[in-house]
């Protein structure tokens, strides 16, 4: 399959990047690692006139510890750098672990944290070639008005399939968004809409530039569990991140988030709250799993049946809670 023709824009600074964005808004796609964009362009899911290649924007690459204990991570930081960072592994283990499960080692060298946060939602009826989609009938997410997953529905259920966002949600991460007029900072939780088409709150002129991990989130024990058919390469079919902090034998604070079973990564507030003030045992972990499974809404967007994936949210949540408690 050929790549559609496009013009390549190669900014060197964030300012330059956002000015390109505002100049070509609606006709430009952003390339950070390109691991998702390039195959999608070959499938003609995107045929932009311009591709904005961020790879020379050095200022948003790298991990910076602040004296407060907070951490700033540039959106262009490679997933392999996060996976291997001794500091993150020690103080924010859930993020390092989730980054380590993305795709394969080669793809993690290219793929970035910002790209994983902004990852397009996925669906078996959408991530197909133009020929395939034409044969099947175009869907809501691209060029059509029907949904193959939820017949008669008007909402797109394509699943958000990034691995790092549930970890980041658990850590109460914030992201910095730059545009020509201003730079704003929002909690990551507010970034996602829950709709498969417009899955993130980001204007065409805006760019995700940095991720902030608050100092208060440091040193939580954390675990990420990912359901996939193969031990490598695969996107998550369900994923659960759990963080918790103990004091005096019981849980002082806990958060649970999941991915790949809804059009957005979801912080399962009630499941986390359930654990607070208690000591973890098998049945409590199971109860948390039940809440998570009820919140999950897996559909036929991915391999394996929705029923099974929901079950695995239950099992993986339980296991992650127990594992985090034992860390």
């Amino acid at each position: 399959l050929s790549l559609p023709q496009f013009r390549l824009l190669r900014p060197r600074t964030v300012d330059e990047a956002v000015s390109f964005l505002s100049k070509h808004a609606n006709n430009v796609r952003v390339l950070a690692g390109g691991t998702d964009l390039i195959p999608s362009m070959r499938q003609k899911l995107f045929e932009p006139e311009y591709v904005l290649d961020l790879r020379s924007v050095a200022e948003i690459r790298g991990i910076r510890q602040q004296t407060s204990g907070a951490v700033e991570i540039g959106a262009l930081t490679a997933l392999s750098a996060i996976e291997k960072s001794p500091y993150l592994r020690q103080h924010f283990p859930v993020l390092a672990e989730s980054a380590a499960t993305v795709a394969s080692p080669v793809l993690r060298n290219m793929g970035t944290l910002g790209g994983n946060i902004c990852l397009d939602t996925r669906c078996l009826w959408y991530n197909q070639s133009l020929t395939w989609r034409k044969g099947c009938g175009f869907c809501i997410k691209k060029d059509g008005n029907i949904c193959h997953v939820a017949p008669g529905g008007t909402k797109c259920w394509a699943a958000f399939s990034g691995d790092t966002p549930p970890a980041l949600l658990c850590l109460n991460a914030e992201i910095e968004i730059a545009s020509p007029d201003r730079t704003r900072r929002i909690p990551l939780q507010e970034f996602y809409t829950g709709d498969g088409v417009n899955y993130r709150r980001l204007l065409p002129t805006e760019l995700v530039t940095r991720v902030f991990l608050p100092a208060e989130s440091a040193d939580y024990s954390g675990v990420y569990r990912k359901l996939r058919v193969r031990g490598s390469i695969d996107y998550p079919l369900a994923g659960v991140a759990v963080v918790m902090k103990r004091s005096n034998g019981h849980i002082a604070d806990a958060r649970i988030a999941m991915t790949a079973v809804n059009p957005a990564p979801v912080l399962v507030q009630k499941a986390g709250e359930l654990l607070v003030g208690k000591s973890i045992d098998e049945s409590l972990a199971e109860a948390a799993g039940d809440i998570a499974a009820r919140t999950a809404k897996p559909l036929t967007t991915s391999a394996l049946t929705p029923e099974y994936r929901r079950e695995m949210i239950r099992v993986f949540t339980k296991r992650a809670v127990l594992a985090a408690a034992n860390n």
Binding site: L124, Q128, K297, P298, P306, E307
Partner: protein, 862 residues
Amino acid sequence: MSSDFSIIGKPTAMVDAAEKTTGAGKYTDDLSVPGMLVGKILHSPYPHARIKSIDTSRAEALGGVVAVAIGKDAPNPYGILPVGHDEYPLALDKVRYVGDNVACVVAVSEAIAEKALELVDVEYELLPAYFDPEESMKAQTDLIHDNKPHNLEKDYHHAFGDPDKGFADADHIAEARFIANEVTHAAMEPHSTLSSFELDPHTGKLGRLTVWSSTQVPYYLQHKLSLVLEMPMAQIRVIKPLVGGGFGGKSEVIPLEIIAAIAARKAQAPVKITYTREEVFWAHRGRPRTVIDLKTGIKNDGSITCVKARVVQDGGAYCSYGVVTILYSGALLGALYDIPNIQYDGYRVLTNKPACGAMRGHGTVNVRFAFESQLDELAEKIGMDPAEIRQRNLLKPPCITVNGLRVQSYGLPECIEKTVERSGWKQRKGKLPKGRGLGIACSHYVSGAANSIIRSDMPHSTVNIKIDRDGGVVVYTGASEIGQGSDTMTAQVAAEVLGCSLARVRVIAADTDLTPIDIGSYSSRVTFMAGNATSRSAEDVKKRIAAAAAKKMNCAAEELVFRDDVVFKKGSAPPSVKKDSDEEVEVTQAGASVSGRVEGQILRGSLQQKRKEEGPKEWMTFEEAVVAAIDFHGALTGTGSYAPPPEARGGRHKGGGVGPSPAYSYSAQVAEVSVDEDTGEVTVHKVWAAHDCGRALNPVSVEGQIIGSVWMGMGQALTEEMVWKDGMLMNAGMLEYRSPSSVESPEVEPIIVESIDPEGPFGAKECSEGSLAATIPAISNAIYDAVGVRLHESPFTPERVLAALRAKRKDKALNLTEGVDPTAPVRFREHGGSLCFKGKGPERHALDPARRESPAVAGGAD
């Protein structure tokens, strides 16, 4: 390995290893010729439709488009089997699956060709489509092929021995339905073909055609091209460059191979077409989804009294190798164990999906999964160890099985013995921690089919050898190197027979202008048949060298020994000889075993002449002997060919031509797995795989083939499955098709067993396919050992395993797999026996069986 040989039996690097590992080697897609254009194929979006009209004018008007070929440009049917000429390179009046070939755009670039595809206007009239074989067999109207009533490609009904009596004699009978879902080859290299016509010097019109193609069967391709293009075969040259794996997916003529030639003819320019990965999935020819109703009877002592199998294969829209596949499925019930009575009913059914064909372990794999699983069930019934029940039912060769298969060499007993020993079966079976288990299974395969698919008396393989004064040996063989080691095997056999070093041998292979006919690389036939032909060809030329050398050495030709680049008299020590100068020239290097770094070529020019004038000798170098022979005979060439002996060609019953082979390989495997009882995930920790390959000509290559077979079998056992929804292939890519990655690949311990076949080259048999089939039941049996659930459907995905575990525990009923239960067949079939896709399907005919009311949305209610 044996020290009787200087070349074979030693681990030898592949002759093309350096090219492949450095990237210097050229595969078809790497090639280009001046003026070459790009071809892109337009595929059908519908599973079954009549073509009312095709208008190519808008596409042709696009700048950069040179031509658009359609069905009318070459309206001749073809097919790999003489009984199955049901394909057209480009659809004439009907399309029969999503992905069927409709038109081919030739343009100056891929991007322009892709754009032009959007501009070809095709008007279709939709027809009801058939996706499930059982439904398809009920069809009265709108048949997929008009000459195939009930959409039945072929059915066979065989009874050998007395099946009724066999079951009456049995003390225990097991009966069950097994389902093996559809898998494909997923070779690394996508299919690619480059076609180029030469101008005829007399007429100035298009003349000879040269085709470079990623094929396992250059000769068949030449034959089919000649049929479709209406050109004499002599005007067509097929060249096979490096091929990046075939596994059967390139063992017949794939549409693009003919389309490229039609397109080149129409565009009057060379055209290259390379499939996208999606197109590779549509071209398919993989292993069909197979439903096996199997019944086996045994006596209390474990001996098998009877096997009855009803096998239905979902063959897709065209015949392909289908008739052969359905016959193999029945025939290869025999020749592994001693089974006195066999009843077989096989149905190859047409459906509106890509055609299935030959795939590694052709025809035997799915039935073997069922059989070996059922044998374990029966062993449990009588309280016998699974390894022992297999040992109870061994054949006693030489023999002819009840269904007419001749078995001579038979290494199965040793295979079982060795895997049992190495895996610690007796000490560990049943004693592993909870959730961990061991399973055993056996399998076998043909070393080439004894009967060619094209009915003729021609030899199956012919090899020519030419040796010139430089002492270089050139072997011309039609056998196709597809990564399996064909060229290396050829070089080894030639060098061993001629007693020369491997470095002297150059193999020219698979070029129909240069090399004699070989019917191709499939059915694991190359080592046995082309190996024998090479050996005979080398003997032929050696005879001539020996005659000349004997003259020089004053002895009889029969007294001469050719070894390590020296010709010497039997009985005398191989000389390590002083030469005229003080310098000691070591003629032999006993230790040299790795190709590419070898002695030879040491006597040249004046030295050669001097030795020649010296008069009678005790010994001669290979080069001297060659020169003597050329002085004596003129050009030094030899030829040899191989055809299977008549006694190996099988029974006389209808369909009895498929299954017979001059020799069978044998395999026994033990798999160790663990099962996560909460998630249903299966991990394979280790597989011990013993394979009887007759004689291992190149042990490292044999081991590679065993490991590869096990790995591929594991893919089918655990993860790989083609998933369908209303004729749409849901996972036509390597991301979603999910062949195992290195992470979940277990350690495989290959164990070579050498039974030394009386007719194989140096006793060799096949080693590339026979091991695959055992892996699936070995894993299945290990899962049973680990957690006590018997899986009847492959692949054993986590949800299928978990559903079985839940059913066993009688836990809260959870529909995890949507219709795996054979008691809910309609639901099951609707989704192609696979994961559920309950959504609204694509546009289909009103009478299309796929158009049923969809149930509620999944995952909604809790």
